[in-house]
Amino acid sequence: MTITQRTLGSTLLKVDNISLAFGGVKALTDISFEVKEHEILAIIGPNGAGKSSMLNVINGVYHPNNGSVTYKGVQRKQMRPHEAASQGIARTFQNIALFKGMSVLDNIMTGRTLKMKAGFLSQCLYFGRARDEEIEHRLKVEEIIDFLQIQSIRKTPVGRLPYGLQKRVELGRALAAEPELLLLDEPMAGMNIEEKEDMSRFVLDVNDEFGTTIVLIEHDMGVVMDLSDRVVVLDYGKKIGDGTPDEIRNNQEVIDAYLGVSH
């Protein structure tokens, strides 16, 4: 059987000479790269290379000391995370940031918040707009639950779930926002082989079914090389490599700085 190759679009996200420092500590120095629509870009690098900080800059948790982020052609200086969200940027976290007190369903539902418009009064009465909205969005959420194959834990409080499933739920919450750009911070950290395989499958499916552009941080070289179209390598807050998996594999500087030491 033949499978049609998917094509990358124009530039979706562009970061220019981003530098970020906490007090005296330099987290990022003068980082630039771009992400094309529908692309899967992996950011790799040793611990403390500033990978997470990079994501935090992209969705506005941190504000770079200098440099700029251009998203969908709009260059921006300051942006709050929720603004980033409304622009279609969603993310997951290195150490799971689910809402422990809520069920899987509610957690994913929160991902729909931006899409819900019902007024306060109709919520008080849970009537009309509010109720219809709840149902309409429940449907969407159920589709995601179905997509991630977590039907059996739908109503379980997330606190009770094993680690791997929590990661899945968190991905679900991000997907619920129907993002155009999805930032995944070590989606497979601490997973066993088959969990990793599942997760990789989901990441590919997301990218494929919904055409979502994905920027992910990952330590497992195997995974990175399989999943990503392009790889950006950071080391001590500096970019030391940027290219296709193969190019990266053969990039001497990268090998010294990272692959060499880690494997």
Binding site: N59, V61, R80, P81, H82, A84, A85, S86, A90, R91, F93, A97, L98, F99, K100, G101, M102, D106, M109, T110, G111, T113, L114, M116, A118, F120, Q123, C124, L125, Y126, A130, R131, E133, E134, I135, R138, L139, R173, A174, A177
Partner: protein
């Protein structure tokens, strides 16, 4: 054990998202309402209404209100007394100056509380946890002072204390304990439904998200400003109305200290003991905290030795303190959680899990 859920399947999201999806629960709630609206009025005597039911109901309302803020949105407030005071005094002033329908005045009282709540909620955008708690204390002291020192609020009554006529709506006078009881009960039921609707919807989720992990919440697009301020607003509205009822229906006459910091604390205790983040919890807590002193007062008599009232009140303090610590350590989710666990057990019976 008595939950027989087999065969209760849902064919629509509406029925699946119902407040009481389980048939047996619906029965149970119906029975409660029946008891509250029919059995109690038939059986209870004056004392019970005055000393037990009315205060418990009004405090439930306040506790539910505070729980929305503390339990659902995770913003600790020690200013409950203040909000109640605002509600009470505002209602009073609307009544004597605008001469509106008392019920309207109660709601307006609530709205004033809302206003104050939002203003004093603003710090919550910058500060968290106990910093915020302290900030709300500021409100507490400020209102204490205002209502005792600014005579306009008290309509220049020399003593500074206020006495009011029984509530009269469209010629119907709520003077007998029974009528007062029914009035409060109705209000409580309505507000409970509203509270439940809010917390099960978008707003409620954004509150809980903010509570559980505010950074993540903001990153998925929940604006902290809205989440926190709306929580403050709704919460203080509930509490304000409760305050108005407390003053008008329960006390009838009161001086500024009726709403001092101890009220704030005891409502907070109701929420903690009752169960953070649970509507039922508010009611359970209110009942518990209100009834415990009565019980403690009776206990010595039953045991056949008498104890000075001072001693009793000291014991009360100790027991409250101990209970708070106990619940926080053993069951942070309070009575409501215990109830919920029991229910789980019954549903799975005879299986343990």
């Amino acid at each position: 054990m008595f939950y027989r859920e087999a065969g209760q399947f849902k064919t629509s999201y509406q029925s699946d998202q119902a407040v009481f999806p389980i048939f047996q629960d619906r029965i149970f709630v119906a029975l409660w309402l029946l008891a509250a609206f029919v059995a109690v009025p038939l059986l209870a005597n004056e004392y019970m209404f005055r000393a037990i039911f009315i205060p418990v109901i009004i405090m439930s309302l306040a506790a539910i209100g505070l729980n929305l803020l503390v339990g659902y949105c995770g913003q600790v407030s020690l200013g409950t007394g203040a909000f109640m005071a605002v509600g009470a005094y505002a209602a009073y002033n609307f009544m004597i100056r605008a001469d509106l329908n008392p019920l309207i005045c109660f709601l307006l009282g609530g709205l004033c509380a809302t206003g104050v709540g939002v203003v004093f909620g603003i710090p919550s955008l910058r500060i968290k946890g106990f910093y915020l708690a302290v900030a709300t204390l500021a409100l507490q002291f400020f209102t204490d002072w205002s209502f005792s020192r600014i005579d306009w609020f008290t309509n220049y009554t020399p003593s500074g204390s206020i006495a009011v006529q029984p509530v009269e709506v469209w010629g119907f006078v709520f003077d007998s304990p029974l009528r007062k009881y029914l009035l409060c009960l109705t209000v409580l039921v309505i507000f409970t439904v509203i509270a439940k609707n809010i917390v099960r919807g978008r707003i409620g989720r954004s509150w809980m998200a903010t509570r559980d992990m505010d950074v993540a919440a903001e990153i998925i697009g929940i604006r902290p400003v809205y989440a926190k301020l709306s929580a403050f607003a709704v919460s203080s509205f509930f509490i304000g109305v409760a305050g108005a009822l407390w003053a008008y229906v329960h006390l009838g006459s009161w001086e500024p200290l009726a709403f001092d910091i101890n009220v704030s604390f005891s409502v907070l205790f109701m929420v903690i003991i009752g169960g953070l983040g649970s509507i039922v919890g508010g009611m359970l807590g209110a009942a518990f905290i209100t009834l415990l002193p009565l019980f403690l007062n009776q206990l010595p008599l039953w045991l056949g030795f008498n104890m000075s009232t001072a001693m009793v009140s000291h014991l009360e303090f100790m027991i409250f303190g101990a209970l708070i610590i106990f619940f926080l350590a053993v069951e942070p989710l309070g009575l409501a959680r215990l109830w919920q666990l029991a229910k789980e057990k019954l549903r799975l019976w005879p299986f343990p899990h």
